[in-house]
Symmetry: D3
Subunit: 289 residues, 6 copies
């Protein structure tokens, strides 16, 4: 088996390769090639712009790939959406495509865009959104730096935003949200019917989810008197499956739990109150529930 796997080139490239590495797939990028070697002999990576990913997954050049829900819809391509990949802090957090206008624009709601000029990188999504609402407007393709085009070059823009800070910095006001988008693992429909390839793609999904699960979690291990366990456990009730091992000293047990990193500062004082000793915390690469 040689699974062709598409990786988004450009701004998401580094964080994607890092996630794939934590998932267990090491890619070696060379400068002048779409193809990236993978240490898994059953896979080959292909670096492509996220915008073009669905096109090449649909026509079978790729078996699977990572891209955003937004670009899947913009392309209009028919692909299998295997799973969603979302996680907090940074990385593949959900993004929104919004209609934005200058702070002092008379446009208050999306219906006010009738007969206006709009610049965007996502022409199809935008046109579909407007058509559904019966709005006629001139939507033009923007080659980049869209957010500084209003009001001088166009009346409104449709642009990607995470926190809205870049829009505010350009004195733009959000009028409406066209869509929310998250990263997806997508597959070619025919490849996904092939039993062997489907198994591979599902394993990748499991490992990617495992890496994402581990990102903000740590392991805690500690010794505790057995008589304390009963009162301690309810305090840890939010946690799944603490591992309890007997120790040579039969009054004591070893506990090992997986917790969210931010929760450690709550847990440790409780552990100490219950007389826990030798508490250690260690990093995790993957957590698969």
């Amino acid at each position: 088996m040689n699974l062709k796997f598409g990786l988004p080139k450009g701004s998401l490239q580094e964080s994607t390769l890092s996630l794939m590495q934590r998932a267990g797939f090491q890619f070696t990028v060379s400068k002048r090639n779409y193809f990236v070697d993978c240490d898994d002999p059953e896979m080959e990576g292909v670096l492509l712009r996220a915008q073009e990913m669905a096109r090449y997954v649909e026509n079978g050049v790729l078996d699977a790939g990572l891209t955003g829900r937004d670009w899947i819809e913009e392309s209009g391509c028919d692909v299998k959406d295997v799973c969603e990949l979302v996680y907090g802090k940074s990385g593949f957090r959900p993004v929104r495509w919004v209609v934005a206008v200058p702070d002092d624009s008379p446009v208050k709601k999306v219906e006010d865009l009738q007969s206006k000029r709009i610049a965007t990188e996502a022409v199809n999504i935008t046109r579909a959104f407007l058509k559904e609402r019966g709005i006629e407007a001139e939507v033009e393709f923007s080659w980049g730096a869209t957010e500084v085009k209003a009001p001088y070059l166009v009346d409104a823009i449709v642009e990607l935003t995470e926190t809205g800070s870049s829009l505010r910095a350009n004195n733009l006001r959000i009028v409406d949200t066209i869509m929310e988008s998250t990263t997806r693992l997508i597959a070619n429909r025919k490849s996904y019917e092939d039993k062997e390839k489907r198994g591979k793609i599902d394993t990748i999904a499991t490992l990617l989810q495992g890496a994402i699960n581990a990102r903000n979690r740590v392991g805690l291990k500690f010794n505790i008197q057995k008589k304390q366990i009963d009162t301690l456990l309810p305090l840890l009730s939010a946690l799944k499956n603490p591992t309890i091992s007997p120790l040579v000293n039969s009054k004591w047990a070893a506990l090992e739990i997986i917790v969210e990193e931010q929760f450690v500062r709550k847990v440790i004082p409780k552990l100490k109150e219950h007389g826990a000793t030798d508490i250690i915390e260690y990093p995790l690469n993957k957590v698969i529930f």
Copy 2:
């Protein structure tokens, strides 16, 4: 007067701002804005992708701007082509759009592209070129990194090249040239009919040409006996208008000539043969013939 002047954002930005500075216009770019302050109160700069320049010059948002002949044609816009700006070594040298295929492709001439798939950033130019030759092919927009797409993703590409080295590095072979392109100073037709604005635009053209002329030229100054001048001058005949000034010692004169930097190594041995002394070479900012 407030002339809105478009500057190409991106890969040509730095060399363009540097050329404008040598021409006498200092722009101060801020991070989040299309508008760039100019130390000339009669002008305001606007940073735009070269691909979008003609669009905004045509519709009057800009009075004038710098972009390539290729993007003017790709846009299909109607603008005044004020002058061509070409110079050697690096910078705005002519570039070519070529059809390229993998080294081992069966495609030998452009007619072989019938029914093939072609990726390019210049969809319109490419389609016009093929139509003129009666070739039907699927031309798809490429979001970048076009040169690594053949043969895996498409059969051929249409891509920009200066020296061809990037194509060779990707094992691509040039089949045909679609167009050559150089940088142009373009103007909105209505602005160019306005007498004041036309005067300003023509002055910018003069100063830009002056800066380009100076780029590979230097000044040479030397003392020489008057009786030698007549035999020396024909040897320098390719040069325009040497300035000959008398010296206090009436048998000698001071000559000052402007020569191309590469020509200095030919000129200096001739000067020494004719007894020239105190030869100095100095740098130039502008040369206006």
Copy 3:
């Protein structure tokens, strides 16, 4: 609760944020603000120069903060010194304020400074030190680069040193030590009387100490025949609380110990002599005894 927590800006900033992160508090610094977001909703960070920390903890603008014992005394402010934070190699090791003079200065002891001129960033500490010994000298505030000021600009300096190497490099000789200083977690006295805030501050202290404890320690885990344990354990007697777990094979046990990193190279040969197998070493984020 919203605990305002002061972090030292400048040279200690990076190592402090890194320590806080290992302790479990992730701060996100933005460029133009004193305030730094924390992933703990109960806390807010404030970046301040170490010199000014005690001032703002004393007047209640901050509830707590990290700074040096030296700057607390220099400021003359009244704050609660919650705990000391010291650890080896690099980072918050103890520093000394010393009186230094040029190698060839006639000044041999601190009493020789009578009527001399002294430059320092710590004017108050220096004056107090001299006054206590009945020495009158002109102490002037130095805006930086103090160590190169003697002997040309002043007779002596009072400067911070860790290893003395920077003083030696400037051909300075240490005459006396004014004070030793370590990093402290300090709190506003009123905040520390508030039960909830005191609990929070004490948890931070515990976690910081936990992170420091883990810095040069690692976990070792290995399998060993039960009959070997009795002879092995005394060799590990310096170590606290080895964790011994029974294994399915009843002649063997699993041992897990926490050791100083530098001690590993001593321990491992001993373990092998006792027939230990499957030895692993893994990193630690925190150790709370």
Copy 4:
């Protein structure tokens, strides 16, 4: 003679050393020393913070030095102010010390600062300014990053600004200007009475002014028919002393003028209207009128 010359260490260091080099003095900075070698055997450089410069010029450790008018006044020292050094674009442009408050502060004019807390690096200037207006306020020394201290830590700040952009970025509003300041060449009063040292200091002043004059000026040289000179010259009347040289062809002359770089775009069209040919523009190192 061995003139001790103070150079400002820190943010102004690079631009000052570059200016001194264009003036003809090459300093070689070593890492660990106040003293900087100069290629002029009659001079020795000393790197000092601008804040401390006047102190050491006053007490004779230095003969002369470069610092701002602001720090001279803040220090209260008595030194000879030899000349002002101002030039445009970047570098030693005039700076202002302003009183600034948060955008939404109730403070509207400087009198509203009564009983408020103010942070500044220039404590003495600020106190003098307030005292003159009968305002009593608490002025505290800020160790840096002053502009982010209001309103959280203090009510107002007194801070240096060039364009005001850093203040605006911190949402601060300027209430009043305390002083404008430019760079000065200052001398020790006694050194300046010494004839030899005074001659040296005055030459330094001449060369520094020469280098500053050249910064935004260029040389223009062109050939023109003599009969055109009389009508052309008045158009160039703002310029001092054009150099007019005869050419061998007696109907023509060579003119050489020094103009401000920004003025070139006005001059060249006029030259062309008068039939000037072979116009060249060349760079300058120094201009001494």
Copy 5:
């Protein structure tokens, strides 16, 4: 004991120090010295070119050191080859010295080198190789950039290669392999007879091997129903010594295994099929079998 230990300076320096650190020895390199401090008081590091290592180990200046088998042979020195250090991906993988000629050279086999000129950094190895085959050729020492010397400056080169890509990029063809080489821990023969030093050197070897073993391995820990263990274990049969601990719930056990990183993606699906829960993966610093 003070063991003098040689570390290769230059291209291998960073990866060697990183390996030593993972092995448990932290060296602190200063700029101007061969000697590098070690946090192990029994050792002192000495930075030397790999080419010179064997020379100084042989003559007793060093007790031990790291270098390549190739440079040991090139030097002709007599040292104890304690152990080989090889591992995958990057780092100290085996390298080859090959004879290479231009693609279009008439030289097809090594015998065709008769009377030719050959450039190499490894003059002795090359001469020995040729002599053994009765070939006479002029072998000249190359000071670097050997691979671009053929065919212009010499007929053939003898050069180090890992993947051959640099040779291909220079249009060179490999004719023969002179030797394969790996990194070695070498010792002075006399030092290695000293019981204490030999013990130390062997411990270093053990720790280095331990670090190398851990490089591509991770720990996996999970809970599983005891009844599943029997069917699971054979699937993990390639793995050595899984650690099985009883848990409080007597139907379940805790398993802990050490696997190659690349193997994890095979193991995890199998574990899930067998109902394993709470699977975690964690990094390792050392694995000593």
Copy 6:
């Protein structure tokens, strides 16, 4: 004609290519090749280590090249030494090969090296020097970082030095100077007999000297009353051939002189004393006397 011209690769590469450019020859270095394109079609550059230059000029692979006198002698090759290229401040200043020993070594003079061990990159020069003085010592080739080898690895070193500062930083004392060396333009003896090639090589020499002459020189131009010239000229007597041009105002003349940059600070006060006006200083590319 196709002149093969050798350029020193490595530490001198950048300054050499910059000097060649100022001389009028623009080379374009590609990464993987000895050959460097030149904008002069009559020349081709070849990048080689300075140590190997003479070897390839002697055997005719190169027609000419740039290297140091030291490496010519070390190689023992027979080449034509066309001219010396020396200039001040930085760049190709003279360098010295010195014998250096640790500060506290018993070696006081070169004769004390009898039977000692010496490390150097210049084995032949060193051996010749010692032999001439009847000293027998073991001279071993050093692969780099020679200056840190004494006293630990060898008794003395022979090393290149410009200012001696690197030796002092390593606590080494200079015992003797073996040779001084400057950069040379060398030519193959047969190429230099070819009339055409000799002409080309001599032109290169002239242009290189012209660029070196201009490096620390500037042009000064000023207007002065004719009656002042006679008293002024003797004060400028060190300068060659001032150019004196008449002005339209017949009482005044324009003078143009070429002076060393460091001399400007002496000349300008004298010019002002003689009533010179409109003094300008401008930069130079070449000066050929």
